[in-house]
Amino acid sequence: MTTVGQLVFSGILIGSIYALMSVGLTLVFGVLRVVNFAHGEFLMLAMYGAWAITRFLGLNPYIAIVAVVPAMFLFGMLVHRLMISPALDKPHLVVVFATMGLSILMQNVALMLMSADLFDVPPLLGGRSWTFGPLYAKPELVIGFLVAVACTVALQWMIKSTYLGKAIRATVQDGEAAQLMGIPVPRIFLITFAGGSALVGLAACIMTPLFSVFPTVGLNFVLIAFVVVVLGGMGSIEGALLGGICIGVVQSLSSYYIAPAYGQMFFFILFLLVMIFRPTGLLGQKGTANIGIND
């Protein structure tokens, strides 16, 4: 019984980190209605950044947040200006293929500059785990969980209570009407995309002590991110947290009870089941899956 408890506990912790990594993706979809296929590479870029700051400046990755998050925000702005914005009024496959091209470009530039080697950040606190009664967890996981939950709460507050949040909600519901009401929709798009990128930067700093970074690390995580977002419901922040936690728990349990090799397969099957029976996800807007993207 304790094993199950431990597995579920670890699953919740890692799942919340998956959620943090995915919430940018869900926001971008909810507002801009585009899927950024280079999302994993944004994470990879930020992870290299966090690693580099840790390695060369001797700071720990959590302090690196101060530099990585703004840098990723700027990077997101750049990508949005150059690629996303021009593609918005074209058929949606332009964005799909363009972000895929970006993904390939970024992976291979990383390969050229950093080589295929795995880079790690040494664990904090000398590798000991914290204990919570009968359960234990790595401190990096617990910190990650706390940051993820705090971030979700902050985002929710921002969406519900600030002007920016209201503007975002208006844009999600009806971009044209929002524009007529004086909301600068193109700027909302820019802020949302750049913000999503910044959130990925935050996730990367949390994840660098837990995972190695290498050029194709994005590929593993982007698939997880897609599943989290779809499960939780595209555009829903709480949905991302819920979805992330579900995925974390499923992965944790299935890796232990069924072969670890099949672990990944399970959440793809979960994904497909969600797509078949409840494509809007647990907390998403009804009908978005049937509309897909506005063409």
Partner: protein, 340 residues
């Protein structure tokens, strides 16, 4: 592209100069002649390898395009069909001693069934939801193949005995493979042209462009989507089998990979979706280029050729969304006299 009357200046011997829906063109015939010539002429082995792959990839790009370009079903999971076809014919050949000449058709049929099933499962999904589902489905197939070692040989993969034998579809000379791949390409091309000029093809375009309007015109969207996916998967599966017979080795990581799936989608996107010549042009432009870049730059800087590839994709998608065929079409339209 409209098949409306063209200025007499642009027709030679009754055929239009540039590719059009529903009819052959001088351009296409000339290209065919060049392709045939390249098969017959004696060339260095490594160039023959490039030609073989270019023709095969062109056929696979055409196959993807039937679902993606004609029916609007953008799939990032076609490597699954490729793999199913390849593994089916190889397993039947290696374990049941069934000749690949029969095995490839069985592989194709199994792929077709899977493709149709996928389309039915994803019947209500549109846009990125559909794309992601195809990705997930392909990953399920890949991981399944990786772990079902008894059937597929697992990560070690399967090998075909490199003993030349026509009965086993293993050839000593590259010429023979080039003929095989060109034959595949030509048959698939003719099929694609036939589809795009037929009522069925038009119905696919209608479902792609506006599903509600198509429904209101009496077209059954689910039937169109499922059949397009089935046909596309069938052709892709056969291509996979042909690849297995050429490469003589299969393993899930390389044959059912997301990278390969992207390749199947990118070649038509770069060449031009929605027409038969597009995917062919895409493959003819990109495959030799990437092989060339890989051999010259691959050693100098790991990944440079792919980085360039990625950059090219971005530029083409943003500035030339019609791909190479789109550029040709614009050039063609400017030349036409009776523009309506």
């Amino acid at each position: 592209m409209s098949t409306h009357a063209m200025s007499p200046l642009r027709r030679i011997g009754g055929l239009p100069l540039m590719p059009e829906r529903g009819t052959a063109s001088v351009f296409e015939l000339a290209l065919l002649l060049i392709c045939a010539a390249l098969v017959v002429v004696r060339l260095p082995q490594n160039i023959q390898d490039v030609i073989i792959l270019t023709y095969l990839w062109a056929g696979l790009a055409l196959a993807w395009n039937i679902a993606g370009g004609y029916a609007g079903l953008i799939s990032f999971g076609h490597a699954a069909f490729f793999g199913i076809g390849a593994y089916t014919s190889t397993i039947l050949g290696v374990k049941a001693e069934i000749t690949p000449w029969i095995g490839i058709w069985l592989g194709g049929l199994l792929s077709a069934a899977c493709g149709t099933l996928l389309a039915l499962i994803c019947a209500r999904l549109r846009g990125p939801f559909f794309i992601l589902s195809t990705l997930a489905a392909a990953e399920v197939v890949r991981i399944g193949a990786l772990n079902w070692a008894a059937l597929t040989g697992g990560p070690e993969g399967l090998a075909i005995l490199p003993v030349p034998s026509v009965g086993n579809m293993v050839f000593a000379s590259k010429h023979a493979y080039a003929v095989l791949m060109l034959g595949y390409l030509v048959v698939v091309y003719v099929a694609a042209k036939f589809i795009e000029g037929s009522r069925y093809g038009y119905r696919l375009f209608a479902v792609r462009d506006d599903e509600d309007a198509a429904s209101a015109a009496g077209i059954n969207p689910l039937l169109m989507r499922a059949s397009a996916m089935g046909i596309s998967a069938f052709i892709t599966g056969i291509g996979g089998s042909l690849f297995a017979q050429y490469f003589l080795y299969l393993d899930p990581t390389h044959v059912i990979s997301p990278e390969l799936s992207f390749q199947f989608a990118l070649l038509p996107a770069l060449g031009g979706l929605g027409s038969a010549i597009g995917p062919v042009l895409g493959s003819f432009a990109i495959t030799p280029l990437s092989e060339l870049l890989r051999s010259y730059l691959g050693h100098a800087a790991h990944g440079l050729h792919l980085a360039i590839y990625g950059g090219v994709v971005i530029v083409v998608m943003l500035y030339f969304p019609g791909g190479i065929a789109g550029v040709l079409e614009r050039f063609n339209r400017v030349q036409r006299k009776d523009r309506r």
